[in-house]
């Protein structure tokens, strides 16, 4: 284990614990708050090194999603959404490539590229993740309205969490 992979391992475990121990237990049943389901763990996938092959990031995402699913008795939902976002990450990276190109050995973060670029990147991937997650959760087109409302509400709180994480922990790698 070298110093390159250590931050990722730590993020894997950290996000897993935060998600399972804290975020999964936040449950509002009143008004607009019922649509807020904060999720932090997609940030692990977002922040994998840019050079990581898509297949490998999908396997990592699958593992992380499965772990979260296991402790929240929602088999397949988090794993499916995580694999989906890992697969999409490659295309989004190509699509949003900044003028200077990437430093492929590093992970994308707010410091290395512009803050604006990074948060746009996060917002797109989080939106894809949440949309796919709630599609899997509701699983029928008749719930389209619930899927959209949950996606928008959760996207808001998850995005705030991601911003919070970036500024508080200020990850270099």
């Amino acid at each position: 284990m070298n110093s390159d992979t250590l931050p990722h391992i730590l993020r894997f475990i950290g996000f897993f614990l935060i998600q399972v121990l804290v975020l999964q237990n936040i449950e509002f049943n009143i008004g607009i708050l019922q649509y807020f389901h904060p999720m932090i763990y997609p940030l692990f996938i977002i922040m994998l090194p840019i050079k990581t092959p898509v297949s490998l990031s999908m396997l990592w995402a699958f593992l992380l999603g499965l772990c979260i699913d296991y402790f929240s008795s929602s088999f397949g939902m988090h794993a499916g959404a995580a694999v989906f976002v890992a697969y999409c990450r490659g295309f989004i990276l190509n699509f949003m490539e900044p003028r200077g190109g990437y430093n492929v050995a590093h992970s994308p973060n707010a410091k290395r590229y512009s803050t604006r670029w990074f948060f746009q990147f996060c917002a797109v991937l989080l939106a894809l993740h949440h949309l796919f997650f709630f599609i899997l959760q509701y699983f029928a087109p008749i719930y389209a309205l619930e899927i959209i409302l949950n996606t928008l509400g959760s996207l808001l709180v998850s995005f705030l969490l991601v911003v919070f994480f970036q500024f508080i922990f200020d990850p270099q790698e």
């Binding site: 092959p53 297949s55 999908m58 929602s74 397949g76 939902m77 989906f84 697969y87 959760q137 699983f139």
Partner: protein, 274 residues
């Protein structure tokens, strides 16, 4: 094989993506109650749709054979139907007895006319079947005419739409009677003559045979009063009667055989001799 490996190398991530998502969805469907129900229901629906579609495709292939067998069945049924119709006609010969003095001989109209001023009808029953001249002919409802000439198998009927046809008729409910006469224009309308002007005749009154002529017994419906007219200085009405029978649409008619004919003839002859 080499191509397969190349393919996997190029599109491996997509294949892996599909594989992982497949695992996720199978987990989702197998371990989560609500998703399982939705999955089972919708796959049941899909199954039903696919099945009914394949069923319909199969139907198209078997349709030709079915049409063939059905047309065979129809042909057989038509033959049977013709036979049964003839049986029914024979049976009516026995059952359709209006009174004890008359029997009905069913006959099919094989020639008919209405446009001329003197119209005749030809029927497919003749001397062999007991049809004789001067017998009355009726349809299901209403008078048709009187037999004039008879051959072995056919007979001609002088229709009521003949200018020399005179049928004795009564207004239902009264004793007053007159003669029916066709004016030679409208095949639905005949005129009733000789009803005196003090009789109360209303439009819609039923006209039936009087029984005074030898051709028809009393009480066979003819038609309804359509118009009542009293010309100035006349003592009798001119009454237009619309016929119950549509003379343009005759198929089966009945010849009325009178069993009392001989007796009545001899009685009248005795009266004439004295």
């Amino acid at each position: 094989m080499r191509n397969l490996i190349l393919y996997l190398l190029r599109y491996g991530s997509f294949v892996l993506f599909l594989l992982l998502e497949g695992i996720c969805i199978s987990l989702l469907v197998n371990y989560n109650e609500s998703q399982r129900e939705i999955f089972v229901n919708s796959s049941g629906n899909l199954n039903g749709k696919v099945n009914s579609f394949t069923h319909r495709v199969g139907e198209i292939y078997t349709a030709h054979r079915e049409v063939d067998s059905l047309s065979n069945v129809i042909r057989e049924l038509r033959t049977q139907n013709l036979y049964l119709v003839s049986l029914i006609e024979e049976a009516q010969l026995d059952t359709l007895i209006l009174d004890t003095f008359h029997t009905f001989i069913p006959a099919r109209v094989i020639q008919n006319s209405i446009q001329k001023s003197n119209n005749f009808i030809t029927i497919n029953k003749g001397e062999k079947d007991g049809v004789k001249p001067r017998m009355g002919v009726v349809a299901d409802r209403g008078v048709v005419g009187v037999v004039r000439d008879v051959s072995a198998n056919y007979a001609t009927v002088m229709s009521v739409l003949h200018r020399q046809s005179r049928t004795s008729a009564k207004i239902k409910g009264t004793g007053y009677f007159g003669n029916l006469k066709w004016q030679g224009i409208n095949p639905n309308v005949v005129n009733l003559e000789d009803i005196p002007k003090h009789v109360n005749v209303q439009v819609g009154d039923t006209i039936h045979t009087s029984g005074y002529s030898r051709h028809f017994p009393s009480g066979i419906d003819i038609g309804k009063v359509k118009e009542v007219e009293l010309s100035q200085g006349s003592n009798v009405y001119t009454i237009e009667v619309s016929l119950f029978t549509d003379m343009r649409d005759l198929e089966v008619v009945y010849v009325m055989e009178d069993h009392q004919e001989v007796e009545l003839d001899s009685l009248l002859n005795v009266g004439a001799d004295e």
